[in-house]
């Protein structure tokens, strides 16, 4: 029982010492797509950049295809 209470106190202390981002990320799901990162890590830096450029080109094209929007 005492060990359990001590562990709880330790966790709280660790949280106080933890950087601001760690404390927030403990409370929320940041929605990071691990498979996307896994896929990226299999590539070379050159390939990672090329993939990003391709995605940007796709997004630009999609924006153009959508045409002008009305307010």
């Amino acid at each position: 029982m005492a060990a359990k209470a001590k562990a709880a106190r330790d966790t709280a202390a660790q949280r106080e010492d933890a950087p601001w981002d760690a404390r927030i990320l403990e409370l929320i799901d940041a929605g990071i797509d691990g498979t996307l990162i896994e896929e990226s890590l299999r590539r070379t830096p050159t390939e990672r950049l090329a993939r990003m450029q391709a995605m940007l080109a796709f997004l630009e094209q999609a924006k153009r295809d959508r045409g002008p929007t009305t307010a």
Partner: protein, 159 residues
């Protein structure tokens, strides 16, 4: 659309001392995100300012978001009189930072970087530890997501 590879080649070919930071550094280190501009930290010595000014001049750097017609002279004197510049160029949006929050001046930033092969360029790119320090210091909402990604990249690359 930003031409990241071309911008890095232009800077590297000119001999400009720079470190790739922010979103492009995140991508090069394994993030799955997309970024629409290039951010670099640059050395502030006279020689480097001259090289940087010469390298970008053909691509018509102008202040991003400034009113049309606002006079802006792109040269090493302009670079010397400022520190951080948010630019639009013919190759896309480029942010030039003389210092990075959480890291400091170029020399400190360079210590937190390693060279990566990017196409035919070997460019200094901020490593995960330095990215983490800079993101933590900046403290914006988007930095929180980057910090979560950095933690995930670390988890997946831990030996």
């Amino acid at each position: 659309m930003i031409e990241v590879q071309r911008l890095l080649e232009v800077l590297a070919d000119s001999g400009t001392e720079f470190v790739v930071i922010e979103g492009v550094a995140m991508v090069l280190r394994g993030s799955g995100r997309v970024t629409v501009d290039v951010d670099v930290c640059y050395a502030r010595d006279d020689g480097n300012l001259a090289r940087l000014a010469r390298a970008l001049a053909p691509y018509h750097p102008r202040l991003r978001g400034a009113p049309e017609g606002l006079p802006f002279l792109w040269d090493d004197r302009t670079l010397r009189s400022g520190l951080n510049f948010t630019l639009t160029t013919d190759l896309g949006d480029l942010d030039l930072l003389g210092e990075v929050p959480g890291l400091g001046s170029f020399e400190a930033v360079a210590r937190g970087a390693t060279r990566l092969e990017i196409g035919r360029v070997h460019a200094r790119v901020l490593d995960l530890d330095a990215l983490e320090r800079s993101k933590r210091a900046a403290g914006r909402a988007k930095d929180l997501l980057d910090l979560a990604e950095i933690a995930e990249i670390r988890r997946r690359t831990k030996p």
